[in-house]
Homo-oligomer: 526 residues x 2
């Protein structure tokens, strides 16, 4: 009965919205319905105000640990330090909770910023003084980019997939990277990678019976987005013992398990290089994954935002697009690759630039993706420009090439050294083991905590790794994210720590970390 | 039975995601479950690939007319013109479908672009040449802004509500505008106003039983967002006969009507100045609306993105915040005000800057809004900076003040002239009446079409105004949006046309429009 009423109302109100030619109700100039309304008004009840209880339960269910409680506490401590220096046993908060390089002092790449600056204020492009301030290839690149934008209007909404010419530039960059052609029409520019992930979840998830396979541990954007869109996260475990290996057998087992419970599994998320785990997949492993998605009819959602962050000699990044092309697949594999300007050596998180390359969807489905993109009009143009730049950096012979390469290599080599130093430090701690960060920006050490610490955490209603992270923050000012925010094998405990603190501070951080850990273990030793 | 299975699965999969301490399944190193998986695999079926039928029905239901079919057709014609000049009876496409001023040649405000340019490349701030290229107050403003950003890192993620100091600047701008205090903590910076609207819909809508009162005609972002979040749009009609007046009696009637159908109405959307209608609400009317929302327990969602676009002497913009404060309401009215850098005299659509000011929500609900904001990390920093600039433009005595005012007044006065010229033109057409654009960027003339035209539209399965708009495009290159995309009283037909074409082209546009209309009427005259 209630269901019927709701259905009828939906039909009346929803289908009426202007796209059909009739409405369920007419304007109040109609005196008869006005009288009816007055009568109805007397019988009506007042809507509840907005309470926690009355908001969308999907919103309440969603969690995003990277900016969770520990970070809120850190912000509080930071304020206390500002207002009352010396109030804590440290003099600054070190945000190792999030891959936000420039917040920890990483400098932006000069060429990228020059071009952005010029595109923001094209009026100075043909002034003499400009040649004294900007490199000549930045000036010529700015001209090229302006010529790609209709009317050179960097302040206009673009095509909802992004400026066509910038998408062509990105497609050229992908083609150069992979050795296989990419198409501008397959590129959707977005405000960072996160909105792109949301768009795909929104498209694929109809109800909680739709499942998305995600690695555990995972980057919590995926769990948050699945929760917000009302789907089911189907976990598959990465194997810590083999350096966070992705075992196709495990993925298959979880797929079958979910299916046996009535879940329609729609997509497989793979994060490569891994976040929070730092592993870089081998080509053989990627081939297995592609074959698996093809065979099982899954969309492969490939988070490839760390594609430039590789720190070991014996590994290299291969895009899933490249692997699938090498295997002879074209449009018959449904594949979405996410890329962002926030990571890599550029680390331009605040610019919110990114794109997804969408392959193997039918035209009518792509039209729906475009429609969702169009509701938000377009992504920000400086972010679009920057995405085209990171996919097409200066080339040999360009005036900026040498200094660009020096900046790029300087950042990447420093990241590799920092990753190694912190990995060694974690491995030196009692009860802690830490896999190598082959790529990305994180270490995810495993903590074997004494039972007393686990009990103490339980007594304050906190997960043991959350308890450890809070103690670490309060003692040292170092902000990490508890492993429980990413998911982990039950009974194991981890923290995620970025490799991003400035290199000159790493020795001091390691000392503080070691001293804290020793004190903590002494306090709770069984 | 099925319900039970789904419920159980949800519990197993969903609750398991890492935030609790246990999982429903363990890694595949367990040989027993591995064997079970192998057995299950044999019995499993393959997921369906992604088809139009298998995507989220809410996505399919969503419509966004402003970038709909007519625009797609226009883009096709534009390409044909490029490839084959002379192939159509016009030589350019005039996009009057969307409030995108810079795409039609409006120049950006110099001061804003100077500051953005400098903040993008702070390295040039203390170079001598910079003083030759940028105004001194742009340079000092850039320094001020950089000092508001932690570590001067314009490439870092900010606080998820936006940089605190920029929110303080915006709050100061609101305070100056309204004469009542605003708080930085109430500001959420967003990538344009659209994501802010989505956030509120996501928060408020639990199911199709939750309704949102929206004006008809409305800006289709609202219908699109309500559809995407699975709610019900509850229409209230603006009265065309009184210049698109908002009659509280009509709103009340529709509220009661919806409630009698079991809809829980959660919020009232008011667009002021109106889009697509251009009306500016009177203070008395706004007081009624505030009182109504207070009494009925509705969130007032105030779309105030056209607050700087007023073209008539006898009207002025009052924010709903100001009105509610004048009435003595503080936190007891739930009010969200949306503002954007895309409109006003600045028209910086491509920068995707905007904010919402959120008032009258309990701390636990605000925390949920913050959480949703945090899942996307933050809005783009250049957009945040620009939002702070439009709310704090140059002041008397600043070096840029005179030229800034000249640019601002030049744009606004030209918009007023264009609005008047186009209004007069529409009113001169046979069977067309057009209300004044008191504000915003649009005219929404009513077309009284001959029955033969209505029949002709029906025979090609199109709404009559869509038929007219397509004919107009094909004959003149002018792109407008059919009224059916915004909603209108059944049996009436409108088009929305922006007032944004360059002023020197307006006479030619009017001639083309008149000639087309005459031909159209002659063809279909009853």
């Amino acid at each position: 009965m209630r269901r019927f009423a709701a259905e009828r109302t939906r039909k009346l109100l929803f289908s009426s919205l202007g796209f059909a030619s009739s409405y369920s109700s007419s304007p109040s100039s109609n005196p008869i319905s006005a009288a009816a309304a007055a009568a109805a008004a007397m019988a009506s009840t007042t809507s509840p105000p907005v309470t926690y209880e009355s908001i969308n339960p999907k919103v309440k269910k969603c969690e995003y640990a990277v900016r969770g409680e520990i970070v809120t506490q850190a912000q509080r401590l930071q304020q206390e330090l500002q207002e009352n220096p010396g109030s804590h046993p440290f003099d600054e908060i070190l945000y190792c909770n999030i891959g936000n390089p420039q917040s920890l002092g990483q400098q932006p790449v000069t060429f990228f910023r020059e071009v952005l600056s010029l595109c923001n204020h094209p009026a100075i492009l043909d002034r003499d003084e400009t040649h004294g301030l900007f490199s000549s290839d930045a000036i010529s690149r700015a001209w090229e980019i302006l010529d790609l934008i209709p009317g050179r209007a960097t302040g206009a909404y673009s095509h909802s997939q992004g400026v066509k010419g910038l998408r062509e530039a990105i497609a050229a960059g992908i083609t150069a990277r992979d050795g296989f052609p990419a198409k501008a029409d397959d590129i959707f520019l977005t405000d960072g990678a996160s909105p792109a992930v949301h768009m795909m979840m929104q498209l694929l998830i109809r109800s909680e019976q739709d499942g998305i396979l995600c690695p555990i541990p995972q980057y919590p954007l995926y769990s948050a987005s699945i929760a917000l869109h009302g789907g089911s996260l189907v976990p598959y475990y990465l194997d810590e013992a083999t350096g966070w290996g992705l075992e196709i057998f495990e993925v298959k087992r979880q797929l079958e398990d979910a299916r046996s419970k009535g879940i329609i599994v729609r997509a497989l998320v793979v994060i490569n290089p891994g976040n929070p785990t730092g592993q870089v997949l081998s080509e053989a492993n990627q081939r297995e994954i592609v074959e698996f998605c093809k065979k099982e009819g899954l969309v492969l959602l490939a988070d490839e935002v760390y594609q430039e962050n590789i720190y070991v000699e014996n590994k290299q990044f291969n895009s899933f697009k490249k692997i699938s092309r090498m295997m002879g697949y074209d449009e018959e594999l449904s594949l979405v690759s996410f890329q962002s300007v926030s990571k890599g050596y550029y680390g331009e998180c605040g610019k919110r630039g990114g794109y997804m390359e969408v392959i193997g969807f039918t035209p009518d489905v792509r039209e729906q993706i475009y429609k969702v993109a169009s509701v938000n009009l377009c992504s920000n143009i400086p972010g679009q420009i920057l995405a085209s730049l990171v996919m097409n950096p200066p080339k040999v012979g360009d005036e900026s090439y040498e200094s660009f390469i020096a900046e790029k290599e300087g950042i990447l080599q420093s990241l590799a050294r920092r990753a190694q130093a912190l990995e060694d430090a974690f491995n030196s701690l009692e009860g802690v083991t830490c896999n190598k960060a082959e790529g990305a920006m994180y270490l995810f050490p495993r903590l074997r905590l004494p039972q007393k610490a686990i009990d103490a955490a339980k007594s304050v209603n906190t997960a043991p790794d959350g308890f450890y992270a809070r103690r670490l923050l309060e003692a040292t000012g170092i902000v990490v994210v508890p492993g429980s925010g990413f998911g982990q094998v039950p009974g194991t405990w981890h923290i995620r720590c970025t490799i991003l603190p400035p290199e000159d501070k790493i020795p001091a951080i390691i000392s503080r970390l070691k001293a804290f850990h020793e004190t903590f273990m002494n306090e709770f030793r069984d």
